[in-house]
Symmetry: C2
Subunit: 356 residues, 2 copies
């Protein structure tokens, strides 16, 4: 593109931007968007395919890939964000919030980041799985209501950052999706690592279950230049021989994982920030929905100390301690998600991860 | 928004547009984008939920909704497009093509349409299903290679509009997703009808299997103002008493569906266009991959004649007859998909469906 054309674009964008400053929402100016599958494996039946009889011989099955939808704004910052959902969820986690506001996908596009939303292997748009599975519709949503810390069913926590109209809860429950087969951390982190091979350096944003898969991905791929992790749930990686004893909770013990020191040390070479929300008890509590998070927050702090002891840069932020109250397990889609995003933006700036 | 602000926006957009006219691709200027679930049902266990023991009593399960991702460009045309995938597919059908070019999602956004891409109930991002299912990874892709008319495995048809590098075929096979439960035309068309309740009047674009579900949706909801159907596969709806005998083919008979006259008549009140691609035999053929399409094209013509005899406006276009050669079962993502889109745009203009 000629320089003069580039200058015109910038003028036009500035004009567009300023003229819209009083509109409810400014348009997003997207240079490129699209989707692709990444990673995965192939299974091939022995024999030769016959196109007339179409029997199984010689046929293939591609599965266990991740699926990615990406958007690159005009004049994007250097490092893209890869947004990775948690357990029982898919990329919807980062899209429109259950009450209809903008989620991290739009918020960070508007802040100039290229945004990649991921469906991990065996979930959502990446549901062609190498594993066999029986799926039965099993009512379980009141359990999730508690585990995701909206409240203690049927009551919401006082001051919880979640809209209380029925349609919001309807949308919230419908943003779940079954796992098409077992969790295989190798398969899952391989696909995400291949994504970073394809797109180059970037920032990984994980949630809950993908927290643990995210540490694995960063060990596998040095293109992961930073991690922002919302309420990582399990899979904290310590050096073998330094693994702490599991932390007991009324939802069961939270255990850590041991890996060779050279793998662990890779996690000391990138900045990492971890956020936890509100309504996590300070002491052991009989409510398993909240108490599991007390144990995970404690494990996260032990992990922070271990990584930093070995020269790393891990920060754990318990949101109520910095003045953000009422957050659930999904701070990035809670009613105050713009403030939650502001915290993340501030950290990215401090770590010089938001350069143009 | 004040009028003067609106004028500035238009000036800025024109400047942006003209300054980018020599760039490879112009940015897309999106006023609004997001996602939601629509339709579906809820199952509730009897009893009262206990948040401590978390047993099944009193728990709920939300499922069988459709999932929709939408983008509305600045200054959008009046009628949005709803893009609905076919069998074994999900919304990816309309996104980036297997060889990495833009699909209908981007092409029609660039042409000023609001675009809604749908995952029908029990597929992709709408995989929380009310039905139980066992899913087993079963190699079947050479069958689809034939049925989707890329060629006769392992050979491509001469001149086929499909890139022949291995990565394209890899992406193509990975854009499939299993059905999480049985096909229930009522569940599927109910959810899509609810989408039209929510968004108002629009144009439905169907493919293959969703062709039949699309006719049902148009009967249920008068907000469907037109249908563009690529290679509808089954479910052509005739008035009871006028249902033709099934058309035999080497992949099995293609049967039509009978419904009360008053339902059928709703299909005579909107413009409908149907496109079929190339490499469909003119006479019965032992290759079931291609011969099924001969039977479906024949049924589509019988249906066109029936609807038009009752005062309707159905056009069937066999693409080779209008000069577009080599198209597969996915004309909208084939190598010549911009020309295929041009045909659709021309028809929308003729029918005054593209007004601002």
């Amino acid at each position: 593109m000629k320089l003069i054309t580039k200058k015109f674009i910038i003028i036009a964008l500035l004009l567009l931007s300023s003229s819209l400053s009083h509109a409810q929402t400014k348009p997003m100016v997207i240079q490129e968007q699209g989707s692709f599958a990444v990673g995965g494996s192939v299974k091939t039946n022995p024999g030769t395919f016959d196109p007339i009889t179409r029997t199984p011989e010689g046929q293939t099955f591609h599965g266990d890939h991740a699926y990615v939808f990406y958007q690159i704004p005009v004049n994007a910052r250097k490092l893209p964000l890869v947004l990775w959902h948690g357990i029982g969820q898919f990329s919807k986690t980062w899209e429109t919030t259950p009450d209809g506001r903008e989620g991290y996908q739009n918020i960070f596009l508007r802040r100039g980041f290229a945004v990649y939303v991921l469906d991990q292997p065996r979930r959502g748009r990446a549901s062609r799985s190498m594993d066999s599975v029986k799926i039965v519709p099993t009512p379980d949503e009141q359990m999730w209501f508690g585990t995701f810390r909206l409240g203690v069913w049927p009551d919401y926590f006082p001051g919880v950052q979640f809209a209380k109209d029925p349609e919001t809860l309807n949308q919230y429950f419908r943003q779940m999706a079954p796992n098409i087969g077992g969790f295989d951390p190798g398969v899952i982190s391989d696909a995400t690592s291949k994504l970073f091979d394809k797109i180059g350096q970037g920032i990984l944003v994980t949630h809950s279950h993908s927290g643990g898969f995210g540490w694995l991905t960063a060990i596998k791929n040095s293109n992961v230049k930073a991690i922002v992790s919302y309420e990582p749930g399990s899979g904290f990686i310590f050096p073998e021989g330094e693994v702490p004893t599991p932390v007991a909770s009324s939802s069961g013990p939270v255990a850590a994982v041991g890996r060779p020191m050279e793998e662990f040390m890779k996690l000391t070479r990138i900045p990492i920030i971890i956020y936890y929300g509100d309504n996590i008890p300070a002491k052991p509590d009989p409510n398993p929905g909240t108490d599991g998070w007390r144990a995970r927050l404690e494990m996260a702090r032990l992990w922070r100390d271990a990584v930093n002891r070995h020269g790393g840069d891990v920060t754990v932020v318990h949101l109520p301690e910095v003045g953000l109250k009422g957050n659930t397990h999904f701070p990035f889609s809670d009613l105050n998600n713009v403030e939650v995003a502001d915290l993340m933006s501030k950290w990215l700036k401090e770590k010089k991860l938001d350069k143009l």
